[in-house]
C-alpha cells in the first residue's frame, strides 16, 4: 500500500469510528433515562461527529490529490466513481453518505447496538479509555493535520472518559441488578476490544512514517486504566480470550448496514438533495 493510500485509509477509519459511535449515541436523543443524561450523550455524540467532520475533510483532500486511476479504484460506490470520472472533487458529505458498507473502516466495537444503558456505558468506556491514550500519542504525529485534530479531541475525550468511568462505578457498585447488567455488558463487549490494538496494513504503513503508532504498545497502559476503574466499580476483569476483528478491513457485523441504511437513505434516493 503506498503512503498516501495508507494515510487515506487510516484517516477514514478514525473518521468512521467517530461518525458511527456518534450515530449510536445520538440514537439515545429523546430516550435518555433522565434529561441530564440525554444531554450528556448528545453532547458527546456531537464531539464525535465534529471530530469525524474534520477528519473527513482531510480524507477528502488526500483522496482528491491521488492519481485518477487510484481514485477510480478506491471505493466501490458508483456515485463516487461517477464524480471521479467527471473530475469533480469529493467532499466530507460524499464520504459519509455515498460510501458502501465494506468501504467503512470503523472498528466493530462502535457499531454494536445500544441495547441498554449498561451496554452503552461499557462501549463508551472501552472506546473513551482507548481514545485517551490514542489521541495523546496522535497529537505527536508527524502529520500536522492529524496532530492538531488529536490535540483538540484529547480535551473532549477527557470529559467522555470521566462520564463513562463514573457510570461504570455507579452501575457496577450499585444495586445487585445494575452490577449484574454492567458485568454482563463488560463481558460481552470485551471481545470487541482486541481490534482496537491490532495493526492492519494501513496502521503499519503510517506507523513506519511516524504518522501513526504501534497500537499494541498502548494495550498494557489501557488495561491498567480499565482495571483501576473496574476495581473502583467492584467489577471483575474479563479474561482474555478470542477477539472479534475485521471492521478495520471493511468486514463488519450485520449492524453497520442498518446504520448506513438510515444514515444514507436520503442522499442515495435523492442525490444532491439539500435542506
Amino acid at each position: 500500500m503506498n503512503d498516501q493510500k495508507a494515510l487515506l485509509q487510516y484517516t477514514l477509519r478514525l473518521a468512521d469510528d467517530g461518525l458511527i459511535l456518534g450515530h449510536r449515541l445520538g440514537e439515545w436523543c429523546g430516550h435518555g433515562p433522565i434529561l441530564e443524561q440525554d444531554i450528556a450523550l448528545t453532547n458527546t455524540s456531537l464531539d464525535h461527529l465534529g471530530r469525524a467532520r474534520s477528519l473527513y475533510q482531510y480524507a477528502a483532500a488526500v483522496f482528491n490529490a491521488l492519481p485518477v486511476a487510484d481514485k477510480a479504484a478506491f471505493f466501490t460506490s458508483v456515485a463516487i466513481q461517477k464524480e471521479v470520472a467527471e473530475e469533480t472533487a469529493i467532499d466530507e458529505d460524499d464520504l459519509a453518505y455515498l460510501r458502501d458498507g465494506w468501504d467503512y473502516r470503523n472498528v466493530l466495537l462502535v457499531e454494536q447496538p445500544n441495547q441498554d444503558w449498561a451496554y452503552t456505558v461499557a462501549r463508551s468506556f472501552f472506546y473513551d479509555s482507548f481514545n485517551s491514550l490514542f489521541f495523546k500519542e496522535l497529537s505527536k504525529s508527524t502529520d500536522q493535520t492529524l496532530a492538531s485534530i488529536a490535540e483538540k479531541s484529547l480535551k473532549e475525550v477527557t470529559y467522555h472518559l470521566r462520564w463513562s468511568s463514573e457510570w461504570c462505578v455507579r452501575l457496577g457498585d450499585g444495586t445487585d441488578e445494575s452490577h449484574a447488567r454492567m458485568q454482563q455488558a463488560i463481558n460481552e463487549l470485551w471481545a470487541y476490544t482486541g481490534e482496537l490494538f491490532t495493526m492492519n496494513d494501513a496502521d503499519a504503513a503510517v506507523a513506519a512514517q511516524g504518522i501513526g503508532m504501534d497500537l499494541a504498545a498502548l494495550r498494557p497502559q489501557w488495561k491498567e486504566l480499565v482495571t483501576s476503574v473496574f476495581e473502583e466499580a467492584t467489577m471483575a476483569m474479563p479474561t482474555d480470550a478470542w477477539m472479534h476483528k475485521g471492521g478495520k478491513d471493511g468486514r463488519h457485523t450485520e449492524y453497520l448496514g442498518y446504520i448506513l441504511a438510515e444514515l444514507q437513505f436520503v442522499q442515495r434516493a435523492y442525490p444532491g438533495m439539500e435542506w
Binding site: 444531554i39 450528556a40 464531539d47 461527529l49 473532549e156 468511568s165
Partner: protein, 163 residues
C-alpha cells in the same frame, strides 16, 4: 482598512449561544490578514473552534461576514485553525466578568489537566457567591457548559467549563 479597525468591527460579533460574550472575549479570533490586489481588499480571519462539533461555529462565521460587510469589506475568507487547541485560558478577564453578570459561573482555573479522573472542583454560585454548590452534570445545553446547583440559594446555574 487596518487590522485594528477590523478587530473593532469584530467586537460586535457575539456568540449565538452566550450572547453576553463577543468572539473577542472568547478568544477564538486568532489572526487577521488584510491583502490588496487589483480586485479589491480581501480580509482573512482565522478562528479556532471551541469544541469540535460546536454548531455555533457556522453561525459565528456568518456573523463575521455580516459584520465586515456592514463596514464595506465584502471579500472575506474565514479559516479554521485547530492548533493550538482553544482553551478557556484565552477568555478575557472582561469576558469572565460579563459571563458572571449574565448568570453563568466563569472558568476559574488554568488548564483542565490538573483534575484527577474522579476529582471535582469548587464552583461558586454566580448569583449568591456561595461555594456550597453541587455538580448536576458535566454536560449542559451547549458543549461548553456544565450544570450545577447552589445548595445555599437553591438556584440551578450553568458553569462555563475550564477547557
Amino acid at each position: 482598512m487596518t487590522k485594528e479597525e477590523v478587530l473593532g468591527w469584530l467586537a460586535d460579533v457575539t456568540d449565538p449561544e452566550v450572547p453576553a460574550l463577543t468572539i473577542l472575549d472568547l478568544g477564538i479570533v486568532r489572526d487577521i490578514q488584510i491583502s490588496e490586489n487589483n480586485e479589491g481588499t480581501t480580509v482573512k480571519v482565522w478562528i479556532t473552534p471551541t469544541y469540535s462539533g460546536c454548531p455555533a461555529m457556522d453561525v459565528i462565521a456568518i456573523g463575521i461576514r455580516m459584520a465586515l460587510a456592514g463596514h464595506g469589506a465584502h471579500k472575506v475568507e474565514i479559516e479554521q485553525q485547530m492548533s493550538p487547541a482553544w482553551t478557556t485560558d484565552w477568555m478575557t478577564e472582561d469576558g469572565k466578568r460579563k459571563l458572571k453578570e449574565y448568570g453563568i459561573a466563569p472558568p476559574n482555573r488554568k488548564a483542565f489537566q490538573s483534575l484527577g479522573l474522579f476529582e471535582e472542583e469548587v464552583i461558586a454560585c454566580p448569583r449568591c457567591g456561595s461555594e456550597d454548590t453541587e455538580l448536576v452534570s458535566q454536560f449542559g445545553p451547549t458543549s461548553c457548559k456544565a450544570l450545577y446547583k447552589c445548595l445555599t440559594c437553591k438556584e440551578p446555574f450553568e458553569h462555563f467549563k475550564c477547557h
